[in-house]
Symmetry: D2
Subunit: 343 residues, 4 copies
């Protein structure tokens, strides 16, 4: 795409919460001239999300691969996992050059065996596992720039992995990283479940899937799955708030590392990043500070006497942990200003 030219994109599966945010961002994206919505049933976007009455009353058309790619520069796939891998091959066949940004989990893992372990089913499009770039922009920017296929990271992995980048790049990690993560209820999706009944969720905080959450595979893979020297423990917890993830990381550095210099390392590493803010002094990352934004806020706490350092991060699970990051990926893939539509 030439700078200055406008783009057209499709969104497949816009009725989930990340789809909703994706539409919100696309509406204000200066380089996206138009977009179309496709779903598994016909509907109107503003009937699904009545707050969009008068703002976006687009029809959600019944998905046909040909229509979804026709005249499009890119396709966002915001379908549930297990569904994306059924639809994606049709999209690829319909247009062999189209860019695909997949917000589902279906193309994040690079091996069919791990996919099966994580999601409990056989992958239906295994030939393309490994052909997607993992769209963690701050880590993989150059690869994303070249990519036709990007797998947008999960919300929890985004909150865990961005703050690990500086330490991983310097080889400072050792043993097990502990990620104690708390997510707002929108992270659990729009489908009904007892856990999301207001009375169950409200005035509560609920850990779930301890040692068993499927996102752990994605994080472990990024950290170097087959290098057995590193491991990750990930504890997801459901908060009585709408949006936001707070992650507290407990990290044992290699003996050679100087704890007092870690904050400086973070400041330096993320100095040029538009969407990572390393907070001053002991300011705390919180969901409120990043709500409705594409920021990942981070701070680092070290104490000489202590065996571990603590790194705290916060993101909006639907933006930086979902649609904001997806558009950031689109911007990078298309040679646009990385923050377009996101500030």
């Amino acid at each position: 795409l030439q700078e200055g030219l406008a783009m057209k994109v499709s969104v497949i599966g816009p009725t989930g919460y990340t789809g909703r945010e994706l539409v919100r961002i696309l509406l204000r994206h200066g380089k996206v001239e138009d977009f179309l919505l496709f779903g598994r049933q016909e509907a109107y976007f503003h009937k699904e999300y009545p707050e969009f009455l008068g703002v976006c009353e687009k029809k959600i058309e019944l998905l046909e691969a040909q229509k979804a790619v026709q005249g499009m520069d890119a396709v966002f796939i915001a379908l549930p996992h297990k569904v994306s891998m059924e639809v994606t091959p049709l999209i690829r066949q319909a247009d062999k050059k189209i860019k695909i940004i997949d917000l589902s989990a279906d193309y994040r893992l690079t091996g069919a065996d791990i996919y099966k372990r994580a999601y409990g089913v056989e992958h239906k499009d295994p030939g393309y596992l490994g052909k997607y770039v993992y769209g963690l922009c701050e880590a993989n920017r150059e690869a994303i720039r070249q990519a036709r296929f990007v797998a947008n990271p999960g919300c929890y992995p985004t909150s865990v992995l961005i703050p690990l980048i500086p330490l991983m790049e310097k080889g400072m990690l050792e043993g097990t990283v502990i990620a104690d993560c708390k997510s707002g209820a929108s992270g659990a999706g729009k489908s009904l479940s007892q856990m999301l009944h207001f009375v169950e969720c409200n005035e509560n905080i609920v850990p779930y899937k301890i040692f068993q959450h499927q996102h752990a595979y994605e994080m472990a893979q990024f950290m170097g799955f087959f290098d057995k020297s590193l491991d990750l423990i990930f504890t997801p917890q459901l908060l009585p708030i709408d949006t936001g993830i707070l992650t507290v990381l407990y990290i044992k550095l290699k003996k050679s590392a100087d704890k007092e210099k870690v904050k400086a390392l973070y400041l330096e590493r993320f100095a040029g990043e538009k969407f990572v803010r390393v907070l001053p002094e002991s300011d705390m990352p919180t969901p409120a500070k990043v709500r409705n934004s594409n920021f990942c806020d981070i701070n680092v706490f070290a104490d000489k006497q202590k065996e571990y350092i603590i790194v705290v991060s916060a993101i909006d699970n639907l933006i930086k942990g979902g649609s904001g990051q997806a558009v950031q990926n689109l911007n990078i893939m298309s040679g646009l200003e990385e923050g377009e539509g996101l500030l």
Copy 2:
């Protein structure tokens, strides 16, 4: 029942939120020696409500009318409406003397035609409509004392009608009473629905069924349905809180009434009532002040210049608006201290 003797009761349908509170109250009721639970499926109470682990691990037995009445002094029916009217005749047949306190809506209305209008189906036990005493304790205490069958009022009606008692008894009402009511989410029950999804309910307040809520019939009936001089407008609204109803009543008094004496009337009328507190000065009834209690808090606001007086009430929808009132009814029917188990 002789004072001092212990009772046995059954609870049919203990798995809803009112059932849960009923069990909680029965556990501390000094005159209920034992109680049994019956449901439409076998289960264990502490599996349904894990907070009861080690506290109440009773089996919920599959309902058989004979078992549910055997050796019992009373039966609480906490089934959904439309179900109660199928089960109740069996209970009556199984024991012709047993006391029944029905927490469903099925026996509150006195006419089969109004029932159909309110609930959209034919009543299946119409011969018994009108044979139940409406269990609004503060209004109908003497009738309840004599009653074998009591229909426990709905939560909204309780919050609306208790504060109307003094004015109704004095014939001071005129025209339309406006009841603007706000209820916590437990009032909408334990079943899943989009409206009760955490993300939909949280950070919101949602009016619903304006001019169409089935509880309006019950209130209108109590106010004198066929006397066309009085009417009620009832606006239910869903709050992002677990329990509690706040009701604001806008009332035009008859011209002969002296607004400045209304508060005194309330204080006098409720002076002997254990569970009605007319608050001092301009203290506000709120859900927080009555949570987990059987109180109905009330205050009265009058201004000479204004056409309407305002009466504010607050109850816990599951206690005074449900199981607390049901046990208060049991106590009255059984000649017990009215506050037994409720303080």
Copy 3:
């Protein structure tokens, strides 16, 4: 201002919640090239609101009237009431042509006597009461276009008065309008108070200042204060949510009015309004649907049998009830596209 030319504006008092939203809007306003912040103490905006780190790190300069008007097209005054009337005369003296949009309550009322009754103190700039246009855009657009001074309506009045416009214009109101209003906690401001302690506010809803809220005067004035045929009862209630007002209006129409045509009247009256949405069928206005937007959502409910119609409205108290409306006023006063910065 010529179309296409950029503007400069000052914000005096940007540290309250409405100030925060005003800054957020100005940052994305296409015709505001720059803005300066002034306060009663020096500070940095992103220290007051750390979510603005890297987004708006403007200095809040110590207020000097001359600096605040120098090179400016307009001044927003977002000071507390009682403070604005001390500062405003200095601003006027410093620049005799500058446009002023006052978000405080100090210039909304047209009489010094009423001001004293409402706010309990003498007005310090009484000569300018009555020289401000009341900035309810949908009612007073033409006057605002000509105005140099605009008094931005309060949040509660905005939610009450916009839905009354069609009925007032047609002379259909009679007697007392009842406004049962529920507001999120941000409406009570950023200052600490027992009422706003999390534990007091959470899981609760609290009516306050019944018959005594200062905003009642502003509403009554708009409805025609001295025409004794109309009155208003206004019941403010504090909700456990951050932002949003839900207002339920109970309205008795003149006998000549046809209830069944009221919805059509609303649809027609607001057809050309960018920021008023009359919802289809029985869709409910709610705070969630208008959050972070400048919309006022409205719906109308009528029932032949009932003495009153019900009109429900919802706004974001900080946007349409505060800074969004203020910018809408700026746009109108400056001949800009009315929705600039607000969509």
Copy 4:
């Protein structure tokens, strides 16, 4: 105290949230015949907590040591830390035999130097540090039985230390225990602060005092402060809920320990404990399950492949983490049934 005899107790400082819960428990305590309230200012309990209108309208008398001990069996001191150590010596002087249960932090630490490090001031009654039994009932029951002075543990320490008891007693701990703790807002007390403003706290979760919370000393002391082989990292976080603490512990066991037997160890160790529930299978401890109860719920998660086990606990911070535990201590000290007033 002889079994069957009734007791009298004083509560000094009943106006905080723990004081409120203490009064609630004492009202239903079968062996406490009466209790008096004393504070630093005269007041009425039901004016401080209007939900107690008609339930407990006791006067809070101005504290005089002699009055507070006269005819009393025990004194609860529910004053803030730094205040308790000024008042306690007067109480001891006034009655040399009275039992004292101190809910403040002032007598939990055994050394004046550590106290100064934790609380930043010199201890004013250092001779009595070390003369208090640390009232963690499940660990120190026998010592409590003999004690005249009991220091009631903090809320966070209770949630962290009860689940460590089995591992400490077996010497299975090694290195650093990580305690990631989340507390409801009542844990931060009733005083006003920006952090507790509804709008700041709501829809958020805020870590604070990382590596610096004063409760860390109390926990470290219990774990063996001077035995440098064990350490604790404690991360407190403020939740947008009223009550409850959820603690997630990350624990590296000694190599000799068999991870798969840890759950069995917990079940065995706590089998006889009334107020510790080791949950079945993978049921999760949550604040909702223990709300308004004196339970500490625990579950244990182990995975062969992982370096750490995870132990999750939940308590009500005001009950088991405050007044419930205080009354449990009273019961033990007085030879009463341990659960009296608590079930």
